[in-house]
Subunit: 217 residues, 2 copies
């Protein structure tokens, strides 16, 4: 019985890692769709979100069942509560990747991002993807140092976002309102993906150390 | 012991209602600050978020303690898990009110919203506030009908958001990039507050009926 119980706990963690990797891939595909104005790729991301939602349901159900049947205490209880929270983070991250894909779809066949902004958006996307990969690694290995590094990466995201606003509001911006609005929202989506990755990292730090890391922002 | 346990459960629900009302007030004050370019009011919302975060910590701690000590099953377990989720919704809603206040602060002493957009933003704010009030009522009374009405209200929010984009991208827009970017993001913040209110409603519906309401979007 205890054996099966620990197997179930282990499976929940493995499923969380799988879900994190699925979200990372969705983010990457959404960025590809955005950068290459690829409507088919955008559709794949949008359709693929159902699979992410199914993963969420499965992990929630397993966690809830374990809570109800095994009545875990201390560390295991903390882990299950953390899993329920991380799965909510991941669902939102999947939704945000869908939002990015929808901008690509909305502007197709035109590219949504004017050349002057391509570099910044690519960098934001890259930082987001690396952060989601790191979150998967952190959940898998409980690597507290890597979790702490997520906060530094998040600062990089904030700087890129400020840079995007400077470009939008500067003299070099000749592309008008529509792409400006798209970019303001896209920046918000990438920033929120990054925030959720930080939040996953903080939950793992709390699981391992029993302490909440001090907020940096 | 059982008595104290049910008192604790009851207190958690009451605290959730109090927190929901605090978030509603923060949303309303943030809108006032935005509409009247009132920097002092904006600062009050920003500073006041610490109290919302403290409520979250307290509710999380009580819920966790109850989970660990009383090992609730069935309905009570579902309620505690729902409380942990709703408290996460509420914390985000508080953060979003802060984001709204920060736009007011950033543009002070100028108003952030050009006259042509005032009506739409006011309506979005009003819909958001009513939805948060309804969420408080739903948590307090478990009124499933009111919870379902949140979804209809959310549709109204989506329509207002589409209307704001039509104005931004239409010929009547003479206010340039900066307010357009602000309004795109403000629309997103109000929309997200509304989404979280819907999500709270759905959690209560699930608690009462044992069934997840079908998603409308």
């Amino acid at each position: 019985m205890r054996e099966a119980y620990h197997d179930q706990l282990e499976t929940i963690l493995e499923d969380l890692v799988t879900m994190t990797r699925a979200v990372r891939q969705a983010t990457q595909l959404a960025t590809d769709a955005l950068m290459s104005a690829d409507a088919a790729e955008a559709e794949r991301v949008i359709a693929g979100d159902a699979a992410v939602d199914t993963m969420r349901e499965q992990i929630e159900e397993s966690s809830f069942e374990l809570l109800a049947r095994q009545q875990p205490v201390a560390g295991d209880l903390r882990m299950l509560v953390a899993a329920l929270r991380m799965v909510a983070d991941l669902e939102r991250m999947g939704d945000l990747a869908v939002h990015i894909a929808k901008v690509a779809r909305l502007r197709y066949p035109d590219p949504a991002i004017p050349p002057v902004m391509e570099g910044t958006i690519r960098q934001m996307a890259e930082v987001a993807e690396v952060m989601v990969s790191t979150a998967a690694h952190v959940v898998e290995t409980r690597d507290v140092d890597a979790a702490m590094r997520l906060e530094a990466r998040d600062e990089e995201m904030d700087q890129l976002r400020r840079q995007s606003f400077r470009t939008l509001l500067g003299d070099e911006w000749k592309d008008g309102i529509e792409p400006a609005v798209d970019i303001a929202l896209l920046g918000r989506y990438y920033e929120r993906i990054a925030d959720h990755a930080v939040s996953m990292g903080r939950r793992v730090v709390y699981l391992v150390t029993g302490e909440h890391p001090a907020p940096t922002a």
